[in-house]
Amino acid sequence: MVLKDEELVARAQRDDQLAIEEFVSRYKQKAYAIAYHMCSGDSEEAQDLTQEAFLRVFRNIKKFRGDSSFYTWFYRIVVNTCLDRRRHRRRWERIFSLWRPGQREEETSKEVLEKQPDMGGGNNPMTVLSGKQLTREIRKALTSLPERQRIVFQLKVFQGMSIREIAQVMGSAEGTVKSHLFRATHSLRTTLKEWAVP
């Protein structure tokens, strides 16, 4: 029998170990996917962030009063965990960039491209090459977006959330989310226009 989120929350609030395990198994993929996209495809960091997000959830689960749905609350914690880590890392990178400018950026883009999973392009080298090139272009275009626009776009396109859900996760108005989404779409449409033409 599949328990509803509300029942699982009630059990987890009473420190029920099985409920916690069920939560992890139910939400791990979603949390990992969000973390993976938000930390620019670094799978190790994404795992670390997923764990950190779950820990934050269970440390604070007694504070959850059910005003919003559990998964919105959960996704908000995941997004905030990723944002905190990004800010923290950026702060350190800014300090260390004084010693070795430009080096880390090159390393990161190379690592990320090498780590990319196979897109199923088969053995055709041209398909593989164009796939990799497109991946690089998309990643570059996404990285160049302002933080909130990128998050909204990622939650919409990769996680398939509705604008209302994204607004709840980000704690913003629906109009603001819509505006971020449209601006992101406009930027990507302009940057990747050659890939949209058949």
């Binding site: 916690i20 990643r139 396109v157 949209a196």
Partner: protein, 175 residues
């Protein structure tokens, strides 16, 4: 063919599956007649599809999932079993580390400034190191000291005169 600027938002909402069902019939009617919007819609669909296909959401393997679940439950159990003083020292938010860092900075800063003050009070201050007001005061003090010396010199000179000549000048006896 260009996209109609008035229908840009409707087009994007349609592509993202967020178009209000009440607006759909009018939008579909417009699409039948507008080549630009139709073309833009197709291209945007293609672009979003390409983004989704080339940036797939990865899956955690069964082993990694199990390891993650074990690690989370172990950490939670460890946190629950921590004693109150360990929680206070190392718990979240970490209190001890920032407090120690702040205390170290304060000690170093205090030490630095007090050493500086200690040195400056014992250093020999030359006339050139002093401010102009202080220089004037020092000069005034020198003049006063010299005046005293001159008075003493004057008294000595008069004593010598008395010893040499044996008579006291009339104006000094009145003093």
């Amino acid at each position: 063919m260009k996209l109609c600027p008035d229908h840009k938002e409707t087009l994007w909402l349609d592509v993202y599956g967020e178009l209000d069902p009440n607006e759909r019939p009018a939008w579909e009617k417009h699409l039948e007649t507008c080549e630009g919007c139709r073309q833009e819609r197709t291209q945007l669909f293609r672009l979003l599809q390409a983004v989704k296909v080339n940036m797939p959401s990865p899956e955690l393997s069964r082993e990694k999932t199990n390891a993650l679940a074990r690690s989370i439950t172990r950490k939670l159990r460890d946190e629950r079993e921590e004693t109150w003083w360990r929680k206070w020292l190392w718990g979240r938010p970490n209190r001890l580390v920032p407090a120690l860092a702040a205390a170290s900075i304060l000690i170093v800063a205090f030490g630095w400034f007090s050493m500086k003050g200690f040195r400056s009070s014992f250093s020999i201050r030359s006339l050139s190191n002093l401010k102009s007001e202080e220089q004037v005061l020092v000069k005034d003090l020198d003049i006063v000291k010299n005046l005293e010396l001159l008075e003493e010199m004057d008294t000595l000179r008069k004593l010598v005169q008395v010893v040499d000549h044996g008579d006291v000048p009339s104006h000094t006896t009145h003093n």
